[in-house]
Amino acid sequence: MKKLINKPEDLVSESLAGMAAAHSELIKVNYNPNYIVRANAPIQGKVGIVSGGGSGHEPMHGGLVGMGMLDAACPGDVFTSPTPDQMEAATKAVNGGAGVLHIVKNYTGDVMNFEMAAELCQAEGIDVEAVVINDDVAVKDSLYTAGRRGVGITVLAEKLCGAAAEQKRDLKKVADICRQVNANGRSMGMALTSCAVPAAGKPTFDIGADEMEIGIGIHGEPGRERMPLKTAREIVGMMSEAIISDLPFQSGDSVIAMVNGMGGTPLIELYLVFHELNEVCKGKGIKIVRQLIGNYITSLEMAGCSITLLKTDDELLKLWDAPVHTPALRWGA
């Protein structure tokens, strides 16, 4: 395992220090408990939006804190959900009296820790609503299991809810938008290589030089299936088929598409993947009206990509085009 780090146990805090130094006009970083918060938080009368999760997915979530997106992000240790004390402190720091939305990715740990945090905050009279994101079609959904993982849609939901909150919509409305986005979005990921958790010191899984994992999550978990490496066209075909047939997306739909890099895949390949995705969508009469192409929800240095499609409408498009100014996502400002 080769990484640009000092001691594994210092990676998260030293990386946070770099963010604080680089983006002081946008964000402030609080240590123990660790959270990243908008420089001008709390904003009176605005719904606060808090998300969080294990580290190693950068720029999500810390790089998405700022005007028009998140008010705070709670980074856990690498691939380990943050703890209730972080979420409680972040929630209090962004509470402007209009309540706070917790955007939670559906992982047992994240869900339980955010639950505990919400209980603590509500006990102190803070109006907290939580929406759990579960968009990963690679996982069979079922009432009896942990259900689907929250992946790419999280990024889009944070942008869209952030825009709605910026417009001073109330907590119920912002939470409704989050649920709508989650209900109309689907994702799937794949990996060419594993990643190595710094403290573990070696790759989470071994994979052959001619193999790939289809249906991976964002924590180096093995995927649903190991298969021989295929061409980008075949890979995008498989992934987009799984995504499109699941909602299902239909001819005439307008979508926001994200081609996301897992951290170790170069941009030249991601644009090629977007080209293939665009061809598939054109063939099915699905119109990509907006897109994100790059590393947004990553898995350390893993090579691979994920595809996310969100069925959209005029209201969502307006929210998408609204100004955003965060370390990782910026337009109109």
């Binding site: 408990p33 294990g54 856990g76 240790d77 690498v78 691939f79 380990t80 959900s81 943050p82 703890t83 209730p84 004390d85 992982y107 047992t108 740990g109 339980m112 820790n113 639950e115 505990m116 690679a138 996982v139 069979k140 009896y144 299991t145 942990a146 993982r149 958790v197 403290a199 573990a200 989470t204 899984f205 999550g217 924590h219 180096g220 978990e221 093995p222 649903r224």
Partner: protein
Amino acid sequence: MLQKVYAENKTYLTELDSAIGDADHGINMDRGFTNVCADLSKTDAPDISALLKTVAMTLIRTVGGAAGPLYGTFFLRASTACAGKTELQAADLVAMFEAGLAGVLQRGKAELNDKTMVDALNPALAAMKQALGNGSDVKQIMQQGAAAAEEGMKNTIPMLAKKGRASYLGERSIGHQDPGATSSYLLLKTAVDVWG
């Protein structure tokens, strides 16, 4: 003591978690109990209940992941269950364990055979209750519990995971021992050595 055990088993648990999870369970447990040690040495708790509460809060604050809230809740409920007590009878111990497990079930909503720590904790409780009924002493009760937990842990190997990260693997989760069930067994095993 527990800290030492989890420090020793850090890699073991993490490797179990690499197979069907995200390779951090050992790291999380080690971090948690290292902090528990530190915090306990700082605070001198008036009674067992207060001591267990410190353990619970520290675990909740420092373990993270799924294990943090679960073990945290376990010790929190155990703490409440022995509130006010200055010394523990065998019956108290079993009652505390029962309360702890109830907390884990409530928080995690896992059922038996979902391939989680519950599959170690649940048989352990059953065995402890039985031993208590047979009038065994604390040490025997813990031994019975640990033995049952070990068996329960081993039984997770053929299970198909329905809860936690391992459930994402579907069929591929079969054939691997559950990390959390393993850390639960270690918890009991250590308790035996302590109370022994």
